[in-house]
């Protein structure tokens, strides 16, 4: 398998120069690194520019409703634990409309990897504030500037007990591919929030803006992703320095392990014909 094997050939509808392209490349790269085959990979997305990504890949794809990628991914993973399930979603999709699923999917800890194209804006609907838009940013709806505190996805994920919390940058594809591969290898829910410039609607957080700030956290001399206090601090770092890399990592039993799914053949291989309810019916006699 090489990167071409993961290409669908569908026409790409993103704007030229969009940060989404880097994420697409990185994902193909990661799947090659991981040695996965298309038929055993499932990409689940909601709606948004980010959510179009699965169409551009040659993998199984469920492009569902805005905000609802995570429950679909959860159901699919439960039905077939052998699938490699990856969610590609936007900051609006995952943290806005889908916020409740985000917090509970972390608690559930199914073995899925979530890649958030975090462009800090609603791209597909033409540029309204998203949950991660910076305060003061002016849009056609937020005419006096965005007033809400940005959602802090990484700190929130740590608070909720997520076992793999990372930030990537779509301008550093190679590094990002590594994060994705590590996320997929991690047993359990893995969150990768990707800094993704939107060249059409986010005029603040541009490639140049990020390039000035982004650094690889592994290079920090104190780097210790097992230390929660350190992780909280680095997750909050958003100033003239923005770290990318695995910010927090901890081993946690997965949903599949705890419910016993892992010990059975995938649910979708159980034979229906052999089910006989006679014994349970008699319990109602």
């Amino acid at each position: 398998m090489n990167e071409h094997d993961f290409e669908s050939g569908d026409e790409i509808a993103w704007c030229p120069g969009c940060g989404d392209f880097g994420i697409l490349s990185a994902l193909k790269d990661a799947l090659v690194q991981l040695g996965r085959t298309p038929r055993n990979v499932l990409l689940v997305s909601g709606i948004g520019q980010a959510a179009k990504l699965p169409h551009y890949m040659n993998c199984n794809c469920f492009n569902g409703l805005h905000g609802r990628a995570l429950p679909v991914a959860t159901g699919a993973k439960i039905a077939n634990k052998d699938l490699t399930v990856i969610v590609t979603t936007g900051d609006g999709d995952c943290y806005g409309e889908g916020g409740n699923h985000f917090i509970h999917a972390i608690r559930r800890n199914c073995d899925i990897t979530v890649v958030v194209h975090d462009n800090q804006i609603y791209g597909l609907t033409k540029g309204q504030a998203s949950p991660t838009t910076e305060p003061g940013y002016v849009t056609k709806v937020q005419l006096s500037g965005t007033v809400l505190e940005p959602l802090h996805p990484l700190e929130t994920a740590i608070a909720l007990g997520c076992g793999f919390v990372a930030r990537g940058f779509s301008g550093d594809m190679h590094h990002l591919a590594g994060l994705m591969a590590a996320g997929v290898r991690h047993k359990g829910f893995a969150l990768i929030d990707v800094l993704q410039p939107c060249v059409s609607f986010n005029h603040k957080n541009t490639f140049a803006w990020y390039r000035e700030r982004v650094y690889r956290i592994e290079e920090d001399t104190e780097y210790d992703p097992a230390d929660k206090t350190y992780a909280y601090r680095m997750a909050a770092e958003w100033s003239d320095k923005i770290p990318v890399g695995i910010i927090y990592r901890a081993a946690r039993p997965t949903y599949e392990e705890k419910t016993g799914i892992d010990g059975m053949p995938p649910l979708n291989q159980h034979e229906i014909d052999t089910i006989d309810i006679e014994t349970i019916v008699t319990e109602y006699a």
């Binding site: 499932l42 794809c61 429950p71 229906i272």
Partner: protein, 572 residues
């Protein structure tokens, strides 16, 4: 021979367990029963009751009057006294009731004292009450003890033993102190079959149909389905997942279904109202979906633990956009079972959402039933390559001319499978093409509606020739309608029960009504708008001349319906 026993008391007094024990005992004694529950949305206090109608002929619905009222607190006497027949009996504890046993009408039992004597705990009061009822009905105490053992068996020996002692105390006290034979049932023969309620029937149907994933958010009165499936989950390798909300539940089910398992969710009206977008997703992605809606009175929170049939319109029209769906409205536990099995089959065969419309009355009411022959119910998988078909290159939404695109499961075939919520090409990629759009709408809607007209679950009806009045109903009113029709003296009243309401069985209803060209058609519904009457007119042009409607959260009783029909139509 017919007796109605009503056990009433506060929430938390264990009325439901008494009721369930007696129901199973009754069944084992060869009697028919119908037991419905009236309970409040609270955990302690208030007033709940469990009403068991017992008869030598089949029982399909409740009756108005009580023969034996078991009042577990003083308030229950005041509330339910009015329903007790002249020759009926009120059983109460001396401690809670201030009416002493001076009349034949009252039988005071020292329930609390007997329970304490048996095990030192008031916890055993329920078993004492079971003993009392066993005594009054002249049931075989040993047979009832077997029921107790079956039900308490798992709770450990000691509890079981003490319950049995308490039971025997209650029974002994009754035989020693109550001498009338008025309620003598005794044993007819050993009654086969089982005692289940509508929720359990749906759960059994789902298990039988091979449901491997049930995800739901708790909501009365649907939670019993989740709890029942959970009981059998380990044994059958089923995953039951409580979702964070109803939207998650339906989307998880869609994800699981896409990945190849049969999956289902259940809720009540308010939760269903949240699922509309998900229903639409299933339709657009052509993912099989089964949803149970156990209706309760609305709008909003309404009456969480009571009954209504007002979600008919909601279910037919839920979700944005136009697509085929099927809605079953089982009238009995048997139908609930077999239509649940059918729901999975149809959902998968046509790759559409299928709804089972139940309600609190059906869900919580127990009957003695014999499940249909399961061999006759299809459990065939409609997926490639399991069904022998195989296609390469695979197109998930192939326009085949039949209205159905072969459905494959991810990782079961070499090709990848794109499912898409946007309008899409045959391959499943986003398109904005006008021509493809038109064809896809026809596939999802028009063509499948046509196909479904050949899969109709037909209405059931009484013989309609020479009827003056025909009642038309759906869902849980089936039994009461049927019994009432047979009981209106001096008039010829028939009924049509619709176990499937969508696609509407227009042809079938028209044909049935041809037998009764002169009859007045009356819709019979547990709602205020007469939704079925409107639907009937829309789908067949047939206008009802009247509707019998009830929307106070309570089910119809046979007597009430008979009285209403006589009052309204006898002068016709």
């Amino acid at each position: 021979m017919e007796i109605t026993v009503r056990i009433a008391g506060e929430a938390g007094q264990g009325i439901q367990s008494i009721g369930r024990i007696i129901c199973r005992a009754i069944k084992r004694h060869g009697w028919n029963l119908f037991a419905d529950q009236d309970y409040m949305s609270r955990i302690r206090g208030g007033n709940n009751s469990f009403r068991i109608r017992i008869s030598d002929t089949p029982c399909l619905a409740p009756r108005e009057k009580t023969d034996i009222l078991i009042a577990l607190n003083r308030e229950s006497v005041a509330i339910h006294e009015g329903t007790v027949r002249k020759k009926g009996l009120i059983v109460a504890d001396e401690a809670t009731d201030d009416v002493t046993a001076t009349t034949l009408r009252y039988f005071n039992v020292p329930i609390g004292a007997l329970a304490k004597a048996s095990g030192g705990k008031s916890l055993y009061e329920n078993s004492v009450v079971c003993g009392v009822i066993t005594g009054l009905l002249h049931l075989d105490p040993d047979a009832v003890v077997n029921v107790l053992k079956d039900m308490f068996g798992k709770k450990g020996e000691e509890t079981g033993d003490k319950n049995i002692t308490a039971f025997r105390e209650g029974n002994r006290y009754t035989r020693d102190n109550y001498f009338s034979d008025a309620f003598h049932l005794g044993r007819r023969q050993y009654g086969d079959g089982i005692v289940i309620n509508g929720n359990e029937a749906v759960a059994l149907g789902a298990v039988h149909a091979g449901c491997k994933f049930y995800s739901a958010y708790p909501m009365s009165p649907s939670t019993g389905i989740m709890a029942s499936i959970a009981r059998f989950a380990k044994r059958f390798g089923i995953v039951v997942e409580q979702a964070e909300d109803e939207i998650a539940a339906i989307n998880m089910v869609i994800g699981a279904s896409y990945a190849g398992v049969r999956a289902m969710t259940g809720t009540s009206g308010g939760g269903f109202a949240l699922m509309g977008e998900g229903v639409s997703l299933a339709a657009m992605t052509e993912t099989p979906l089964v949803v149970v809606d156990v209706q309760r009175p609305a709008p909003a929170t309404g009456f969480p633990t009571r009954t209504e049939q007002a979600d008919l319109d909601l279910l037919i029209h839920a979700g944005h956009g136009e697509f085929a769906r099927v809605i079953y409205a089982p009238g009995t536990a048997e139908e609930a079972f077999s239509l649940t099995v059918k729901a999975f089959d149809i959902a998968e065969k046509y790759q559409i959402p299928v709804f089972i419309m139940s309600d609190q009355h059906l869900a919580d009411s127990y009957r003695n039933v014999t499940l249909p022959d399961v061999g006759a119910l299809s459990r065939q998988r409609h997926v490639i390559p399991t069904n022998g078909q195989s296609v390469h290159p695979y197109k998930r939404y192939a326009l085949t001319g039949s209205g159905i695109s072969p459905r494959a499961v991810p990782s079961w075939i070499d090709d990848v499978i794109y499912a898409d919520s946007d309008e899409h090409t045959e391959e499943g990629h986003i398109t904005e093409d006008a021509r493809i759009r038109t064809l896809m709408v026809q596939k999802r809607f028009t063509m499948r509606m046509n196909l479904l007209s050949k899969e109709m679950t037909p209405p059931s009806a009484s013989s309609l020739s020479r009827t003056e009045i025909v009642l038309v109903g759906f869902g849980s009113t089936c039994g009461v309608m049927q019994e009432a029709c047979g009981s209106v003296s001096g008039m010829n009243v028939g009924y049509i029960h619709l176990p499937q309401v969508w696609p509407f069985p227009a042809e079938e209803v028209r044909t049935l009504l041809e037998d009764a060209p002169e009859a007045k058609i009356v819709s019979f519904e547990n709602n205020a708008a007469g939704q079925l009457a409107r639907l009937l007119r829309r789908e067949t042009g047939i206008a009802c001349c009247d509707s019998i409607l009830k929307y106070d959260g309570r089910p119809f009783t046979v007597d009430e319906v008979v009285a209403t029909v006589k009052e309204r139509y006898s002068s016709l």
